[in-house]
Amino acid sequence: MRLSFVLPIVFFASLAALFGVYLYQIGPGGKDIKQIPSVLIDKELPAFKLPPIVGRKDGLNTADLKGKAALVNVFASWCPPCRTEHPGLMLLAKEGFTLYGINYKDKPEDALEFLATLGDPFKRIGADLKGRAAIEWGVYGYPESFIIDRSGRIRYKHIGPIMPRDLEMTIRPLLEKFSK
């Protein structure tokens, strides 16, 4: 067969295959292209310093996070998916994992009520009233969770609520891995 006949067919077949692969990746159960991969993965923890929620005594800053693998969760009482994932966070805390909270643009009384009603899985919570710390962490949707290792690096970012499946498949295994 002549080359000029075969070449276009091969060319278009390979293009179609390439498009097919990408389409398959975003297909049902595939990756969500709206999720933006974090550039902070494997980087040092961002510098931030947050006061406690008014009425508490903890607060959260970069130094608090060092030395232990942990999950850092950005949440707000006004965020429905945050309520959805909360039982999962409670479970992780019960299992002995360390969790820290960044309370994003919340009214203190609302945040306190949220924790009183649904439980408090966090070792420390910082109140990010202006949303500046969230920007340091590259947060753009709520909730978001970060897994950090003991050397003080961000190792994984989860965007959106941690559903039971996420908890079993990625979050808990990663926390276990970095806790070792």
Binding site: S4, K34, I36, P37, S38, V39, L40, P46, K105, K130, G131, R132, I135, E136, W137, G138, Y140, G141
Partner: protein, 161 residues
């Protein structure tokens, strides 16, 4: 007729009204030069919540926070590039509405031109081949056909000469 003309003019005037600006009055800097720079920077930064609007156009809370950060950095004396870098360091290249030209995006930027060149190349090759090939690659006329053709062209059959 005159009222119609006026109506048309008015209609045209309203069509050219730009999109509403999301920047709120209290955000605007007193220094108009800095403010102009802030507006230009805000136009190239993507709002990550809506994803297809710049932070200059978006009303989302995060877009507002980023607009304020842009203005803060400028007031603190940062260059335009430094401000943009501040944001990309936290949100990645995706925050830029126009992807940067670097090794991971060569294919993205060069792809269309490469395809065009490839197409032209293929066209030129095809034309050359066609010209080089025998113009008429058909069987020669038989003796009988030649005789009939000669009869026709000699005009004996009563056709117009």
């Amino acid at each position: 007729m005159k009222t119609l003309a006026i109506l048309m003019v008015l209609l045209c005037a309203f069509t050219f009204v730009g999109p509403a600006i999301a920047v709120e009055p209290h955000e605007i800097l007193k220094d108009s030069v800095l403010e102009a720079r802030a507006r230009e920077i805000s136009k190239v930064l993507r709002c990550l919540v809506c994803q297809n609007q710049s932070i200059d156009d978006s009303n989302a809370g995060l877009a507002r926070d980023l607009r304020l950060i842009v203005r803060e950095r400028l007031t603190a004396g940062d260059s335009d590039d430094a401000v943009i870098q501040f944001v990309t360091k936290r949100y990645g290249d995706f925050v830029l509405l126009k992807p940067p030209f670097k090794s991971s995006t060569y294919l993205l930027w060069g792809g269309p031109a490469a395809f065009l060149l490839f197409g032209f190349g293929a066209l030129i090759v095809a034309f050359r081949r066609r010209r080089a090939a025998q113009p008429f690659d058909t069987a020669p006329l038989t003796d009988d056909e030649i005789r009939r053709l000669e009869n026709l062209s000699s005009g004996d059959q009563g056709g117009a000469s």
